[in-house]
């Protein structure tokens, strides 16, 4: 009984309608799942993870008041049921009803047109006055962003940058998820916050890479202070130095000026990087999905690929490792020689 659950992992289980009901406290499901757990005690941790997932996917409710619902209903009613009744009445009394009704309809529309125009005006005000500015790039896109203080951000593909334009003049704080190169105008403090760590600067230029578990900061000019989210390590680096998060530690290394933010020139360099992260960058730049076997993901690669031709880029990665590639519309398949 209920064998279909035996091979599910936590994310699959968390999508099952019955399981969701149980995780949300539906007593009717209690028996079924308890007995399944008794038969499959090794599934305890999967169930715990799945429950945790279901419980975390709760959204903030936007409250909707009864009055609002009534108000909208009154408008709907006026345009539907009430209107029908009116038509029926006037049809009975006046043969010329058709034109009359439509004229009345136009008069009735006037307050709504006015209201709509007013609402539109406020919507635009709201839109323009909104404090939070955010730039979100899909795979294959890059963008140069001018900040209110004339600092410049080069945002790499599949990245998101957000800041509050209202308070930016007083406090320069940006939230980054992905990779970006910053050229900062001199001024008060300038802070880049990301999931794994943050960077404090005065006037300078530097690159931040913060994706998945990787956090890396390379300083091109000036001086920046880097601190980690976990463990609260702090390191100050100057021009041509970089730090990368390794476990809870920030490991420092020196770089040449040309090495920093080469992605801006459309070049992606790797040194002993696993193929998984190399192809993750490839996916972000070419907006294609890469498929390969799990064994290949951990192979190490040193070299670089360039933007432009998909084929050339794939060749640059695959040739040194003796791998084959096959390009389909939105997909690329990577395989090793032996498997062919």
């Amino acid at each position: 009984m209920n064998e279909q659950y035996n091979k599910m992992d936590a994310t699959e289980l968390a999508q099952d309608t019955d399981f969701i009901a149980w995780a949300k406290g539906d007593q009717a499901q209690e028996k079924k799942w308890q007995s399944w757990l008794e038969q499959n005690p090794e599934k305890k941790s999967v169930v715990r993870d799945a429950r945790q997932l279901v419980n975390i996917v709760k959204f903030e409710e936007v409250p909707v008041s009864e009055q609002k619902i009534d108000l909208i209903w009154d408008k709907i009613r006026a345009d539907t049921i009430a209107n029908d009744n009116l038509q029926k009445q006037s049809l009975g009394s006046d043969k010329d009803a058709g034109t009359k009704v439509s004229r009345r309809k136009i008069f009735k529309l006037i307050p709504y047109l006015a209201a709509a125009a007013l609402a539109g005006f406020f919507a635009i005000q709201f839109w323009l006055g909104r404090g939070s500015t955010s730039h979100e790039l899909a795979a294959g896109e890059t963008k140069v962003i001018q900040l209110p203080d004339n600092s410049t951000v080069h945002l790499n593909a599949a990245s998101r940058l957000r800041y509050d334009s209202n308070s930016f003049a007083d406090e320069r704080v940006l939230y980054l998820d992905g990779e970006a190169f910053f050229e900062v105008q001199k001024g008060s403090s300038f802070k880049v916050v990301s999931l794994l760590g943050e960077v404090d600067v005065l006037g300078t230029s530097f690159n931040v890479f913060s994706r998945d578990q990787v956090f890396r900061v390379d300083c091109k000019t000036g001086k920046v202070s880097v601190s980690t989210a976990v463990g609260n390590q702090v390191k100050v680096i100057t021009a041509n130095q970089g730090v990368q998060l390794s476990g809870e530690d920030l490991v420092q290394k020196s770089l040449s000026s040309q090495e920093i933010a080469r992605w801006k020139m459309g070049e992606f360099h790797f040194e002993n990087s696993d193929l998984e992260s190399v192809f993750a960058e490839f996916e972000r730049q070419f907006a294609k999905e890469v498929k390969m076997s799990p064994q290949l993901k951990s192979r190490l690669y040193s070299g670089y690929f360039k933007l432009g031709s998909v084929e050339e880029a794939l060749h640059s990665i695959c040739w040194p490792l003796k791998l084959n590639y096959k390009i389909e519309a939105e997909q690329v398949e990577i395989s090793s020689d032996q498997s062919l």
């Binding site: 936590a10 994310t11 699959e12 968390a14 999508q15 309608t17 969701i20 715990r48 993870d49 429950r51 945790q52 997932l53 279901v54 419980n55 975390i56 996917v57 709760k58 959204f59 903030e60 409710e61 936007v62 409250p63 909707v64 609002k68 619902i69 909208i72 209903w73 408008k75 709907i76 009613r77 345009d79 539907t80 049921i81 709509a116 609402a119 539109g120 406020f122 919507a123 635009i124 709201f126 839109w127 323009l128 909104r130 979100e136 998101r160 957000r162 939230y175 998820d177 916050v193 990301s194 999931l195 998945d212 578990q213 989210a229 976990v230």
Partner: protein, 196 residues
């Protein structure tokens, strides 16, 4: 289909025959969840409310031409969604933008409240928020339909104009990302997750 779904189908049939009470009942049953779904597509509440009004007015006007449908909830959701997207596009053109931007589905996971209760500090919450932003707008919307509005996959497909596999992928990938975030933050919020 659950009992509620059946009831809504009955309402639907009665509306087709011109039953105005069934029409009001349908509105009362769905308006709150449709509104709070719509509010997440744009900060402009008036636009959402006008769209909902248009939707029901049109529904009544073409009641005699309505056909049988699989899910009332999905039908209403997809209709509202199309109306809002159209209205946003119009508004964007009005203020002189070159092209209509896609809407952004804003829905904050309620985890923030829990963290505040557990006295997690301001900056860590900001970081968690960053992590949650790794969910794409579409993933967020699919998760919302599934877990907040309680839709099954067929209803999600219809609501988002997607095929079955794409709808499943959206939810699976969203969940997988959440799972990663949980793993990544376990160290920081260990105490919090122990209480689950």
């Amino acid at each position: 289909m659950d009992d509620k779904g059946m009831q809504h189908k009955d309402l639907w049939k009665n509306i087709m025959q011109g039953d105005s009470q069934a029409f009001e009942a349908l509105y009362r049953a769905h308006s709150a969840s449709l509104l709070s779904y719509g509010y997440r597509m744009t900060p402009d509440k008036q636009l959402v409310e006008d769209s909902l009004q248009d939707l029901f007015v049109e529904l009544w006007q073409k009641r005699s031409k309505l056909g049988e449908i699989k899910s009332v909830k999905a039908y209403l959701t997809v209709s509202l969604r199309r109306k809002i997207i159209k209205a946003i596009a119009k508004g964007v053109r009005k203020i002189g933008r070159e092209e209509a931007e896609d809407y952004h589905f804003e829905a904050e996971l309620a985890i923030e409240d829990l963290l505040i209760q557990k006295e997690v500090e301001g900056e860590q919450i900001e970081k968690l928020r960053l992590a949650l932003q790794q969910l794409s707008s579409r993933q967020r919307e699919a998760l919302y339909l599934k877990y907040q509005m309680g839709m099954d996959y067929e209803e999600i497909c219809e609501s988002l104009d997607l095929n079955y596999q794409s709808a499943r992928n959206l939810v699976s990938r969203g969940l997988a990302k959440l799972k990663n975030i949980l793993l990544c933050l376990t160290a920081v919020f260990f105490d919090f997750f122990l209480s689950y």
